[in-house]
C-alpha cells in the first residue's frame, strides 16, 4: 500500500505552475484544446486540478482538513490519466499521480469509498469480471473457426481483459486472427483469466486488487508464457506497473514481459510477416490511451531517504512518460495503404484522456461523457473520419460520445484497422 506521507514532500513542493493541466507549452495548440487534465477542465475550481489536490492532501496530512463527502468527490473525480504526472515531470519531477493513488488508498482505508466503486469490487469478487457477467462466458469470444494453437507453454499468452472478452470482441477476435495469420502460437488462460483489477487498484481498493493480481500472475506464470500480450491499455498498465507496485517489486523482477498488441503487431508488419494488402481509404487520427502512452513505463521499486535540498538516496528512476508506447500504433497505421494519419492537437504524452479511466466511468459518468465528447470534437477539428485507439475502454467511451453527439466519426481499435487491411475483415 502506498503511504500518503511518502508524498508529503511532493505536496508541499508543488509550485502551482500548472504544468499538470496545460498542454506542454511547446505543443500548446491555443485556447481550444489547451488543457490536458479533464478533471480541472470540467470542474474549473482549482480543487479539481492536480495542484489543488496536492494542497488538499497536504492539509489532510497536517490535520487541517477532515474527511468529507466533498473531499471524496474531489479525490475521485479524476480519471487517473496521468497527464498531470508527465507534465509535472517535465520540469519538477514531483509525483502528483502517486500522491493521488496514495490519497485514494488512504480514503479507502478510512472507509471513504464511493458506493459505485464498492459495487465494482463486489462484481469482480463474485464474477471475476468488471461487468458482473457470468464467468463461464469469459472465453466465449474466441472464434470457433480459429484453432487454439497455444499449448499452455507457448511464448505468448494473450490476456484478453474484461472488455474485449465480453463487449468489444471485435478487438480480441482481430488480434487472434492476425496472430493466426502470422502463425504465432498463442496461449490463453481460459477460465483462469480474471479481471486484471485496474478498476480496483485505481480506486484505492488495494486489498482486492492484490487478490486478483496474485491470482493472475500465478496463472500466467503457471502457463509458462514469458510474454503477456494484451490488447487493452488498462490491462497493459496493470500487468506492467500495478502488479509489481502492489507486490513491492519492480517490473523487471516479475518474471514476465508485457506487450501490447500494437507493439507486437507493428513488429510483424515491420518484418513483413503481416502484409496490409487491403487499402483502407480513410483519414484517421490516433488517440493515445493514457495507460498505453505516458503511463506505461516500467515500475522500479524504490526505497530510500530524502536528504539535503530534497535529493534522494539512492536516486530513483522516474517514469516521465517519455518512453510510452506512442509509435507502434502509428507505425501500423502509416503502413496501411489508403490511411492518412493526422495527430490531434493533444497527442502522445499530452493526449486528452477519453474520460473512462480511474473509476470515473462508474462514479462520474457525466465527467466521463464530457471528456469523451471533447475528444471527439478534437478529432473532428483535424478532419478525421475515424478515431483509432488501442484500448477497448477508450473505444467504448468515445463511441458513446459519438452516439450522443450524432457525430459522423467512427471509433476503431488499431487492431481492427489492421485486420481490415491484412485480412480484409474484422473479428
Amino acid at each position: 500500500m502506498l503511504q500518503l506521507e511518502h508524498y508529503k514532500y511532493d505536496a508541499a513542493r508543488c509550485v502551482g505552475c500548472k504544468g499538470c493541466v496545460w498542454v506542454d507549452h511547446i505543443y500548446m495548440p491555443g485556447v481550444q484544446f489547451g488543457m490536458k487534465c479533464p478533471s480541472a477542465a470540467c470542474y474549473l475550481f482549482d480543487s479539481y486540478a492536480p495542484y489543488g489536490r496536492m494542497k488538499i492532501a497536504l492539509a489532510v496530512m497536517e490535520g487541517r482538513l477532515p474527511y468529507s463527502d466533498k473531499l471524496a468527490d474531489i479525490v475521485y473525480s479524476c480519471t487517473m490519466c496521468g497527464a498531470c504526472d508527465a507534465g509535472c515531470k517535465r520540469n519538477l519531477d514531483l509525483e502528483p499521480l502517486l500522491l493521488l493513488e496514495a490519497f485514494r488508498q488512504r480514503c479507502v482505508a478510512q472507509g471513504y469509498i464511493l458506493p459505485q466503486h464498492r459495487a465494482v469490487a463486489e462484481r469482480i469478487r463474485a464474477t471475476h469480471n468488471y461487468f458482473g457477467r457470468s464467468h463461464e462466458d469469459r472465453a466465449r469470444w474466441w472464434p470457433e473457426d480459429v484453432k487454439k494453437t497455444g499449448r499452455g507453454k507457448g511464448d505468448v499468452l494473450y490476456f484478453t481483459g474484461c472488455s474485449s472478452s465480453y463487449v468489444h470482441k471485435e478487438i480480441s477476435q482481430s488480434i487472434i486472427r492476425l496472430l493466426q495469420k502470422a502463425k504465432i502460437a498463442v496461449t490463453h488462460l481460459g477460465s483462469e483469466e480474471w479481471c486484471c483489477g485496474y478498476s480496483l487498484v485505481t480506486t484505492g481498493q488495494v486489498e482486492e486488487a492484490r487478490h486478483v493480481a496474485v491470482h493472475n500472475i500465478e496463472a500466467a506464470l503457471k502457463s509458462g508464457a514469458g510474454t503477456i500480450l494484451v490488447g487493452c491499455a488498462e490491462c497493459y498498465k496493470t500487468w506492467k506497473v500495478e502488479y509489481p507496485k502492489l507486490l513491492g517489486k519492480s517490473t523487471a523482477d516479475m518474471g514476465y514481459q508485457v506487450v501490447h498488441a500494437s507493439e507486437y503487431l507493428a513488429g510483424l508488419v515491420q518484418d513483413g510477416t503481416l502484409a496490409p494488402g487491403h487499402a483502407v481509404p480513410m483519414k484517421v487520427t490516433y488517440h493515445d490511451p493514457c495507460n498505453l502512452g505516458r503511463l506505461s513505463e516500467p515500475w522500479t521499486h524504490w526505497e530510500g531517504t530524502r536528504g539535503r535540498f530534497g535529493t534522494l538516496q539512492p536516486p530513483k528512476e522516474y517514469r516521465r512518460g517519455t518512453y510510452g508506447v506512442y509509435e507502434p500504433p502509428r507505425q501500423i497505421l502509416n503502413n496501411i495503404p489508403g490511411i492518412e494519419l493526422v495527430d490531434m492537437p493533444r497527442h502522445r504524452e499530452n493526449a486528452w484522456c477519453c474520460g473512462f479511466g480511474g473509476g470515473v466511468r462508474d462514479a462520474f459518468p457525466q465527467l466521463a461523457g464530457w471528456a469523451a465528447g471533447e475528444r471527439v470534437t478534437e478529432a473532428q477539428s483535424v478532419g478525421a473520419e475515424a478515431i483509432v485507439s488501442g484500448c477497448p475502454w477508450c473505444k467504448a467511451g468515445m463511441q458513446q460520445a459519438v452516439r450522443e453527439s450524432r457525430s459522423p466519426v467512427e471509433v476503431l481499435d488499431v487492431v481492427e484497422v489492421l485486420a481490415r487491411a491484412v485480412l480484409g475483415r474484422v473479428g
Binding site: Y9, H25, P29, K55
Partner: protein, 527 residues
C-alpha cells in the same frame, strides 16, 4: 470562515450555483501557503490563508456585480487569473477569491498586430496564435503558464524585452472593474468599441494599474485587455520531442541562438554593449551558470553531483557565457547581416562561439521557470533591478558578496553575479539575482532566509542605490517606501484611497509584510 448567507446568495445569483463554492476543501486548493513562488519562507506561512469562498464569474458584467456586492457587504476580494504567482493569496480570513479563468477569449487582429485577451488566456496560447501569423511578444521569464493579462499587469520581463520593451507599453485598450465596482474603459476603448490604441485621453490611467510591478490584486480587476504583438518572421517553428525534452525547432534561415564565451566578465559586458550599440539581436542575455547545469542534468541528484564536483568553483568563476538570439525579421539576409556584425564584435573582444541547440526551449513560446525549484525546492529572487547594464552587473557583484554571509542556508553558487541582460536595444539593463534554499531546512535556517529576503536585501538596495522595482513591495513597504520616490508608498496609499475607498481589493497589500513583521518574533523592525 464562511460568507454570511445573504452575501453567498447574492453572489450565487450573479454567477450561478455551479460557479461558487465555500466548501473548505475547495477553498484549501486556493491557499497560497507554501509551494509556489516565494511561499516557502517562514513569513508566508504566517501571511497566507485560504479564501472564505471562491467565485468563477463568466463575464465583465458578472465581475462588476461581484465587486459591487463585495463593496456593499465590505467583503475583501482577491482576483486571480492563472494563479501561478500566488503572491496575491488572501491575507485575511474572510476574503472572496475571484477566479477569472472562465474569461478566456482570445481574438487576434493580425493586420493591426494586437490580441484581445481575457485574463484566463496564457502566453503559450497567445504565442501559438501569434506566431502562426508571423507575430510575437515577450513570454515572461516566469513561464508561458502566466496569464497574459495578469502578466501585463504585474511583470512582463524576459530577454526578448531587448526589442519588445516594457510590458506596460504593450497594453492597449482595456476594461477595468475598479475596486469600487466602476467599469472604466481605457485607451481607445474609452471612446469607441475598438481597443486598438492604448494611450489615455489626456493623462494615462494605465499608470494607476501598474508601475514597475502591479498591485497584486490590490487595484481592482482587468477583465479584458488588448496587447500589442510585434512583427516576427514568417517561418514556422516546429515542435519536436517528447517530454521532458520538447523544443521548437528553428528555421535555420531566420533564427539562431549563439553561445559565446569571453575571457573575462568585462569583455562579456563590453560585447553586450557593443551588440546593443549596433542595434542587432533579439535577445542578449547572460544567464546564471546553474541554469546550464539544470539543462544538462538528468535528475536532481545528477545536478548536485555535477555542481559539487571538485574544481567546479574555479570553473564557474571563470565561466563567462553570453547568449544571443538573432532573428532575420526583415529577410534571410537580415539574419546574415546580423551574424556578420556579431562575428565582428566577438572577434574584437576575444570571444569564442560555442555549440548550442538551434531550437527554443525557453523564451519564444515556452519559458521554463519551474525548473528553478528543481535543484533545492525553494527559490526566491531577491533582486530585480532595471537600470543600466553596468548598474546590473555591479549590483549583482555586490549581492554575490553579500550572499556569502547567508550561505548556507542559501545554496552555494560560487559568486555568480546573477542573471543580467540588455533591454530596449541597450538603453536599459536588467539584473535578477536568484537565491535558493531548502524549504525543508530547520526553522532557524528558514528564518535566516526570511531575513535575507525581507530585510538584508532591501536594505542593501537602499544603501547602494539599486532599483529593485519588484521587491520594493515584497519587502516591508515602510522600509522601502520612504527611500524611493521618496514616499512612493504614500502616493500608492492615496491612490488606493481614491479608487478603493473601502479598502477591499486584496487588503492589507501592499503593507502586508509590514504587518507580519510586527507579528513574528524572528524579524525585528528597526526602521
Amino acid at each position: 470562515m464562511s460568507l454570511a448567507p445573504e452575501v453567498y446568495d447574492a453572489l450565487e445569483a450573479v454567477v450561478g450555483s455551479r460557479y461558487i463554492t465555500q466548501d473548505p476543501v475547495d477553498c484549501e486548493a486556493y491557499s497560497g501557503s507554501r509551494g509556489g513562488h516565494g511561499k516557502d519562507l517562514g513569513m508566508e506561512r504566517v501571511l497566507c490563508q485560504p479564501p472564505a469562498a471562491v467565485v468563477l464569474p463568466g463575464s465583465t458584467r458578472e465581475v462588476q456585480d461581484v465587486v459591487r456586492i463585495c463593496n456593499r457587504y465590505q467583503i475583501p476580494f482577491v482576483p486571480v487569473s492563472s494563479y501561478w504567482v500566488t503572491h496575491c493569496a488572501p491575507r485575511v480570513p474572510e476574503a472572496l477569491l475571484i477566479d477569472l479563468k472562465r474569461l478566456n477569449s482570445l481574438e487576434i487582429d493580425d493586420r493591426h498586430m494586437f490580441a484581445v485577451v481575457g485574463p484566463g488566456v496564457i502566453y503559450s496560447q497567445l504565442l501559438e496564435e501569434a506566431m502562426r501569423r508571423g507575430l510575437y511578444t515577450t513570454t515572461p521569464g516566469g513561464g508561458s503558464q502566466a496569464s497574459v493579462v495578469a502578466n501585463h499587469l504585474t511583470c512582463g520581463f524576459s530577454p526578448l524585452n531587448y526589442r519588445t520593451g516594457f510590458a506596460e507599453r504593450r497594453i492597449l485598450g482595456l476594461e477595468w472593474v475598479a475596486p469600487d465596482g466602476e467599469l472604466v474603459r481605457m485607451g481607445s476603448l474609452a471612446m469607441q468599441d475598438d481597443p486598438f490604441w492604448g494611450e489615455g485621453i489626456g493623462p494615462d490611467l494605465r499608470g494607476v494599474l501598474r508601475g514597475y510591478i502591479g498591485w497584486y490584486g490590490g487595484m481592482g480587476i482587468v477583465t479584458r485587455m488588448a496587447v500589442k504583438l510585434i512583427p516576427f518572421q514568417p517561418e514556422r517553428l516546429v515542435p519536436s520531442g517528447i517530454s521532458p525534452e520538447t523544443a521548437l525547432e528553428f528555421p535555420a534561415n531566420r533564427i539562431r541562438w549563439f553561445n559565446i564565451t569571453f575571457p573575462t566578465r568585462e569583455d562579456l559586458v563590453e560585447a553586450m554593449y557593443s551588440i546593443a550599440r549596433n542595434e542587432i539581436g533579439a535577445a542578449v542575455t547572460k544567464v546564471p551558470v546553474f541554469w546550464r547545469y539544470i539543462a544538462r542534468a538528468k535528475s536532481k541528484e545528477h545536478f548536485w553531483e555535477m555542481w559539487e564536483a571538485p574544481g567546479k568553483e574555479e570553473e564557474i568563476k571563470n565561466s563567462h557565457i553570453l547568449r544571443v538570439l538573432l532573428v532575420g525579421y526583415t529577410s534571410e539576409k537580415h539574419l546574415e547581416y546580423e551574424i556578420r556584425v556579431l562575428e565582428d564584435i566577438v572577434k574584437d573582444l576575444g570571444g569564442q562561439f560555442r555549440p548550442t541547440k538551434q531550437s527554443d526551449e525557453s523564451w519564444l513560446k515556452n519559458a521554463d521557470s519551474v525548473g528553478m525549484w528543481w535543484m533545492t525546492g525553494g527559490y526566491a529572487s531577491i533582486e530585480y533591478t532595471i537600470d543600466t547594464l553596468d548598474c546590473g552587473v555591479r549590483g549583482g557583484e555586490y549581492l554575490a558578496e553579500l550572499k556569502t554571509q547567508c550561505t548556507p542556508p542559501l545554496m552555494p553558487d560560487y559568486g555568480d553575479p546573477g542573471w543580467f541582460q540588455m533591454g530596449e536595444l541597450g538603453h536599459v539593463g536588467y539584473l535578477e539575482f536568484l537565491t535558493y534554499f531548502d524549504p525543508e531546512d530547520s526553522e532557524d535556517n528558514i528564518h535566516k532566509v526570511d531575513e535575507w529576503y525581507y530585510v538584508t536585501g532591501p536594505k542593501k538596495d537602499i544603501e547602494i542605490g539599486l532599483y529593485n522595482g519588484f521587491t520594493l513591495q515584497e519587502s516591508p513597504v515602510y522600509l522601502s517606501g520612504p527611500a524611493y520616490g521618496p514616499n512612493f508608498h504614500l502616493w500608492m496609499d492615496r491612490l488606493k484611497g481614491a479608487y478603493d475607498p473601502r479598502r477591499i481589493s486584496n487588503p492589507p497589500w501592499p503593507a502586508d509584510v509590514d504587518e507580519v513583521i510586527e507579528k513574528v518574533d524572528w524579524l525585528e523592525r528597526d526602521w
